[in-house]
């Protein structure tokens, strides 16, 4: 399924689910209030029980879809993309009365596309998710924004990346997301040549970079080294380059970053 098709189906399913929920509530209320007036012979209690039963079945189906979508998360982390794709396809195609199932499915599909380096589709899916009212799934908006910003940067859309990132500065992020944001911020600042801003509070930036997984840590330190080089700080540049080189190969460090690729040896 292409991202555009998934988004279109997602929006249609949300509308259908809303109509179904509203219709069921309206029918129950009408039955209880109007059964005497309209001389319906069926007891309102029976109507309530029937709708309750139907609701339980629909919620159960939705929960199953949610579980399948959530399980795909582990498959993505393990690099089993084909299996994750199948699971998410099932979760997103099956009808769900709860919007949470669809939102979680869409979020994990965006994660999958991001892991597959399909930046355009990942961005499209993140934008679709962020355009919804997330309610109690609001925490999903943070990783989605981070993925969107990263995808935009990889696509060379610096302004789009900034727009995605800017809201994250106002919220308290867990450490893992803070690390991701720091790398994106460095990437963004390097693309707009804001070298001095990159070196602001450098000790804290280095401490955070040390907590990242090796390839990301190397990239963050290479970006800081680039900023040090541009501001004439050769001691800092040499130290950071030496550290980055001991953490990852050149290709991992410079991928999708033309400025870094042109500079980093």
């Amino acid at each position: 399924m292409t991202a555009a098709a998934v988004v279109s189906r997602f929006r249609r399913d949300l509308t259908l689910a809303w109509l179904l929920r509203s219709g069921m509530v309206a029918l129950v209320v009408a039955w209880v209030l109007l059964s005497d007036t309209l001389h319906w012979d069926v007891d309102p209690m029976v109507a309530i029980m029937v709708f309750l039963g139907l609701w339980i079945v629909l919620v159960h189906r939705s929960r199953r879809a949610t579980m399948v979508a959530t399980a795909a998360s582990n498959l993505i982390a393990a690099g089993q993309f084909d299996a994750a794709e199948k699971q998410l396809d099932f979760a997103l195609r099956s009808f769900s009365v709860l919007t949470a199932a669809k939102l979680i499915g869409l979020h994990h599909l965006a994660r999958l596309r991001h892991a597959q380096h399909n930046w355009r589709e990942a961005a499209l899916l993140c934008q679709a998710l962020l355009s919804q009212r997330l309610g109690r799934l609001q925490p999903l908006s943070r990783p989605s924004r981070l993925m969107l910003a990263d995808s935009m940067l990889r696509l060379g859309d610096v302004q789009g990346a900034y727009t995605a990132m800017v809201d994250l500065y106002d919220v308290r992020l867990p450490l893992g997301e803070l690390l991701a944001l720091q790398l994106l911020q460095l990437d963004y600042l390097a693309r707009i040549s804001a070298w001095a801003a990159m070196l602001h509070n450098i000790a804290a930036r280095i401490q955070l970079a040390e907590l990242m997984p090796p390839a990301r840590s190397a990239r963050a330190q290479a970006l800081l080294a680039l900023a040090a080089a541009k501001t004439g700080r050769t001691d800092l540049r040499d130290w950071l380059v030496a550290r980055a080189a001991r953490l990852a190969e050149r290709q991992e460090i410079v991928s999708d970053h033309p400025t870094l690729a042109a500079w980093y040896v």
């Binding site: 867990p174 280095i206 401490q207 090796p214 840590s217 130290w239 550290r243 001991r246």
Partner: protein, 294 residues
């Protein structure tokens, strides 16, 4: 701060105090009973089977009371559970950022009263073990890890992590015989076999027992494994390799390794982890760090 003067509560006290309390109506049985009361009351209140008006009033009252109780209990439990999760996440972040006093303070606050979730308690105890190791309370670490391994049913990966922490504490406590036994046991665990943690433990054991040649065997492979899994902790391998080369009186190689170690991590942190590296300070030259990070 002198680690021996830190106000760390006794581990046994924390273990006792943190036991989750048996809560009435919080388990599945309690939920079932309350649901049945609500459902039964609802039917009676609606007049099924035929019920006197007074009885229906009482049924409504019972239904409402049971429903309110159920919602109240769930709300309180959920709030306590969420607060516990948030605190644990905060502690994990303190540990990663090496903000040990804050981590310890929060752990004590969490473990000095009954915890809501047994799973969260295990997590908190594992974090406590890491903090105690930081403050060189190795006997307490071993006691705590033994408690976790013997009293709690841990999955393989978690048990492996706990065993690694225990083995490191045994090594630091100079209990080498027991540490060697623990390492053999770890070597038989599938979860540990290719792990950077086991690589570091074996390397440290070899360095500590003076088996420098064994420590340096397959060094490139050890560096690669630790670098890929633990990033900057590759400094530990370089530091221990420097000590092994120094032991073999190969100063040029020892200097090269010492330079790499000091490039990847602050020397103070490395010496805190492996006091044996103190011998190298002054003997070899560290990589010159820029002023911002000194």
């Amino acid at each position: 701060m002198d680690p021996t003067k830190l106000p760390i509560p006794e581990v046994e006290r924390l273990l006792d105090a943190s036991q989750p309390r048996l809560r009435l109506f919080s388990g599945w049985l309690g939920s079932l009973v309350l649901s049945l009361v609500v459902l039964g009351g609802f039917f009676l209140a609606m007049g099924y089977p035929r019920t006197e008006p007074n009885s229906r009033m009482i049924a409504w009252a019972v239904t409402l009371a049971a429903a309110t109780l159920s919602i109240g209990i769930n709300w309180r439990l959920r709030r306590a559970f969420t607060a516990e999760q948030i605190r644990l996440q905060m502690i994990e972040e303190f540990l990663q950022l090496r903000r040990w006093p804050e981590a310890l303070m929060n752990l004590a606050a969490l473990l000095l009263r009954p915890m809501v979730s047994p799973v969260a308690r295990v997590q908190a105890l594992m974090y406590l073990s890491a903090v105690l190791a930081r403050y060189h309370r190795f006997e307490d670490v071993i006691y705590l890890d033994d408690y976790l391994l013997s009293r709690i049913n841990l999955d393989d990966d978690t048990a492996c992590g706990v065993k690694m922490g225990r083995t490191m504490a045994l090594l630091r406590d100079d209990n080498l015989l027991e540490a060697d036994r623990a390492l053999s046991e770890l070597g038989r665990m599938a979860a540990a076999r290719q792990s950077a943690g086991l690589t570091l433990l074996e390397l440290y054991r070899d360095v500590k027992t003076g088996h420098a040649t064994e420590a340096l065997e397959g060094l490139d492979e050890k560096v690669k494994r630790v670098r890929e899994q633990m990033g900057h902790r590759v400094a530990d391998v370089y530091g221990l390799a420097a000590r092994a080369y120094d032991f073999l009186s190969r100063p040029v190689d020892a200097q090269a390794m010492f330079t790499q170690a000091s490039l990847m991590a602050p020397l103070g942190e490395l010496i805190r982890r492996y006091p044996e590296l103190q011998l190298l300070v002054g003997k070899y030259v560290a990589y010159p760090a820029p002023p911002e990070v000194r």
